[in-house]
Point group: C2
Chain length 340, copies 2
DNA sequence: TTGTAGGCGTTATCAT
DNA sequence: ATGATAACGCCTACAA
């Protein structure tokens, strides 16, 4: 509870503006929202009065009265992960000038935190919701269903979405990379991912890795599968552990974060040639991977387009242009570089 | 304008809850906001009714009625810049459990966009505002003054803040790094920064560089000062240009973004020894700089603490615990590593 | 401890 | 084209 003590919001006054302009508040409201519905003369007077008093309309009151909202809520698992930046930019770009405001929140990869944030957004009566995760607490699902507001999920192409879904298949992407590495001649392909416990993307990627191995008739070797916390240091540790083992891999596929770069830096330190000693592949087209020596083979995912399309389908629904519960697969692409 | 078409928010009903619980709406309101002010028996009944109807309170109405808000607005220049992540995390950590919601927006390094966002936040009647930039349009300043809400700026220790200020001195930090490089024996120290036009931090850093040179009795050489766009590629280009010139530097101080890492990667590609051929220093303690080969000398800035303290002083003011317009200098630290 | 009346600032609706 | 009136859903203030 905001247990305030004096934090009252500043007084505002459409009335005051109306008096100064010599009109009724209703006219001010109209002049502000749809200038064409009011005579030029009045519009001028209203605009001047607005400027004179420094009037800033109260959206709380407006939204309450109109039963309509101009804010869209976005929940990401972690803002410290730069992967979300392009998606957010995509959303922003579409929302800019639409009259809708974006409210971003960070649930820290926690389902409970996500539930709380969803509650807060629903309490704020947001017009629509964008969730990066595709798994949610039961309570969260129930609330969202009851609220009946449009929702887009963006984390991965998962079955049974709450409402709309705009993403790519983490499973297929991981699978494709493993097949790619195999095609390049690598035969012992290790897989390193972030903890899959609270992360549907990680799980999907692991499933994709397994699927590829199965297709290739290769047996899964538990010693080649690692789960590491995020961060460059983890990548370094993983490569050391894997290459120090009795039956080391000839390629490592890092399906998360900046792990692959961390591994490469460790190889540089130890003067292990890449890909001579081991090949390295990553999962996301972050700038760094293109600039390392050698540059790192990775997947290009449609991060920004996910943001754009999500915002578009959400607006379509909010503004009544569509009733469809669309599911959009935006695909992915393999970027072959020097590290493999 | 949200030019809707059917995006009406779902109906909500404190009244309905009240009827189910056999009490007045007022009692429901109280039971929800301060459970101690209501008898145990009623509280139970109300809680059950809330669950039964899946009631989510309408904060719009609540905030409007109480003239109080539970959201805090935060505007950063660019969410794609990972530097803001720790600050945001600091803010989140303090706000978590405070009952206040954080609303994040990205102004894309544009003063006009910032003005628009400030307007939107004020229209939303946020309880407080956190701005990373310390320069704002005149209109924005005027609005904020009129609104009279607590504001914290966090970008740099600048004179004449709007209200409160929690940061470090970009000027002093840049100056300190130049003096440090000089102490290490470097005599031709180049300076590469992001475009200073829309960025008070960049400008301050450049001033710090100049101040240091002046103190050292060194003359500023225009050929050693570069302004580059953000990104690893820019750092690469900068190092090539500087080292290819007639009078190359023996050290380069990159005062922005990931420029220094880009430069290091370029040196690796060209097999220019660092620091043998040229020493490299950076401005921010991002993870990558610790893991490159060699690791890069840089400044550690109190990013997360800036977030925490900002949130704290803002809450102190919002909740009436303080009237002070505090200015907090959180300092910085030089991290000497292998690149210099 | 609980309820009643009135209003927060805006917009929908219906008149004029 | 403009205005009067009644909500929107909740909370403050006071009364019971």
């Amino acid at each position: 509870m905001p247990d305030d003590g004096g934090g009252r919001t500043a007084a505002s006054r459409m009335r005051e503006v109306a008096q100064r302009a010599g009109v009724s508040p209703m006219t001010v409201s109209r002049a502000l929202r749809d200038p064409t519905k009011v005579s030029d003369e009045l519009r001028r007077r209203v605009e001047e009065a607005v400027r004179a008093v420094g009037y800033v309309p109260n959206r709380l009151a407006g939204n309450l009265s109109s039963m309509r909202s101009n804010v869209i809520g976005l929940i990401v698992p972690g803002l410290n992960n730069s992967l979300y930046a392009p998606t957010i930019q995509g959303v922003s770009a579409v929302l800019r000038g639409s009259g809708f405001q974006l409210m971003i929140a960070d649930c820290g990869y926690s389902g409970e935190a996500e539930e709380e944030l969803i509650t807060a957004f629903l309490a704020q009566r947001v017009a629509g919701l964008m969730l990066h995760d595709t798994r949610h607490t039961e309570a969260a699902c129930a609330m969202i269903r009851r609220a009946g507001l449009p929702v887009v999920e963006t984390g991965t192409l998962a079955p049974g979405p709450l409402d709309m879904l705009v993403s790519y298949s983490n499973h297929d992407a991981a699978r494709a990379m493993v097949l790619h590495l195999h095609r390049l001649g690598y035969r012992r392909i290790a897989f390193v991912s972030l903890p899959a416990a609270n992360n549907d993307r990680s799980r999907e990627r692991r499933r994709g890795y397994r699927a590829a191995l199965a297709e290739l008739g290769a047996e899964e070797d538990a010693r080649l599968v690692l789960e590491m916390p995020p961060g460059l240091a983890s990548g370094a540790e993983a490569v050391v552990r894997l290459l120090g083992s009795a039956a080391p891999p000839d390629a490592i596929f890092f399906a998360g974060d900046v792990l692959a770069a961390g591994a490469l830096f460790e190889c540089q330190r130890r003067e292990w040639p890449v890909p001579g000693r081991v090949a390295l592949a990553a999962f996301d087209d972050i700038d760094m991977l293109r600039h390392t020596v050698p540059p790192i083979t990775t997947l290009r995912l449609p991060r920004e387009e996910i943001g754009r399309r999500s915002a578009e389908v959400l607006l379509d629904r909010i503004q009544g242009r569509s009733e469809e519960r669309v599911v959009v697969d935006l695909g992915f692409e393999i970027i072959q570089r020097g590290s493999t």
